[in-house]
């Protein structure tokens, strides 16, 4: 099973085993990783599952589509490597995916 590494704003790291096919957000919620709210449940409607993708993983995760980019306008402290984790599907290729959580979600 691919592993995803969530690093909280204070540096606390969570290494979570993920099921391929789930979204990066769903994996975090299931494992109760703090710092991801996902108020809309994954509908790309709230921008509270916001994460920063580590540089090494940007090509493999790809870039946001229009709907996600629109919603990113509403996220807290958007950076060039910002993504909404409900829009990233876990694949075996993403084994070791490392991402950081923002200071807070709106």
């Amino acid at each position: 099973m691919p592993k995803i590494i969530y690093i909280e704003h204070d540096g606390t790291s969570h290494e979570i085993e993920a099921e391929a096919g789930m979204t990066v957000m769903e994996v975090a919620k299931k494992a109760e990783v703090p710092g991801i709210e996902a108020e809309c449940g994954g509908a790309c409607s709230c921008a509270t599952c916001h994460v920063y993708i580590d540089e090494a993983w940007q090509t493999k995760t790809g870039s946001a589509e229009e709907m996600e980019e629109d919603m990113l306008d509403f996220a807290f402290e958007v950076r060039p490597n910002s993504r909404l984790s409900c829009q990233i599907k876990v694949t075996d290729e993403l084994d070791g995916l490392t991402l950081r959580l923002p200071q807070k979600q709106f």
Binding site: A43, C46, F76, E77
Partner: protein, 342 residues
Amino acid sequence: MSNTPIETDVVIVGAGPCGLFAVFELGLLDIKAHLIDILDRPGGQCTELYPEKPIYDIPGFPVISGQELTDNLMNQIKPFDPEFHFNQRVDELKKLDDGRFHIKTDDNQEFIAKVIVVAAGGGSFTPKRPPLPGIEAFEGTSVHYSVRRMSDFEGKDLLIVGGGDSALDWTLNLAPLANSLTLVHRRDKFRAATDSVNKMLALRDEGKINFILGQMTALKGENGQLEEVTISGPEGDQDIKCNCLLPFFGLTMKLGPVANWGLNLHENLIKVDTEKFETNEKGIFAVGDINHYDGKLKLILSGFHEAALMAQQANAYIYPDRKVIFQYTTSSSSLQKKLGVK
């Protein structure tokens, strides 16, 4: 805004799907309702967060959009003539000596009702505050999240931030009034209507407004008066002189004043029983996402069920001497008459 308190049977706090359906259940029992909502239209989360998105778990509708569901509910409750008070948030709620409840909104509108139904969902939709340290000190004086009176912005050096219809509409409306106007957006694509974007770009090309690609990173000012905002963009940082800031970062739900009404809460949700969905305060009920009980699921259909049972108890308070004979809308001629279908 009026100074005479509105007296009614029931005030429903929140006009989302559960607040709307509560009107129906109360209406079947001849109970009149007024609804108060901070948004400018009914539908709550459905119309604010996902008007076009399909919902798959409304009984009887394999798929229905948030907007369609709201429209259907508005249709369904039409026979009961509910009265809506939009753009207002309920701030105060207290019990009067005669047992009724007194409500005051942030627009100073007062209500007196025998029963209150809190259908506040995730809380009031409140503008998101940009993550700039110290911004609170300028709110209400030089930082505003909405435009109540356009004339307030006459002659100002205005900074508007955002890429949606709110930011673009206000850019177009305020450009003729302002002394200077700068629009800031984090990317060169906009969510706003294409026509608005084109008009904005035309103003920019004519030199009537400035457009900067970037995000706000700092602001400067004294005693609540804004002087300067720093924008960081692809070409570096710029300090923009401005005395008024309008950030349009969307809305988020905040529990707000509900927390101050003396109701027992469980992790910011209102505790209720599962027979009447009544809170610890007799006469105050809570339905929909805002309530909590063992086994609670935040589903619209749950809120519908809760509204039906709540109405039975509301009826007992409002018509204490009336015996309720349970009736079906399919067969009861009196119910059908109320619905206007016979």
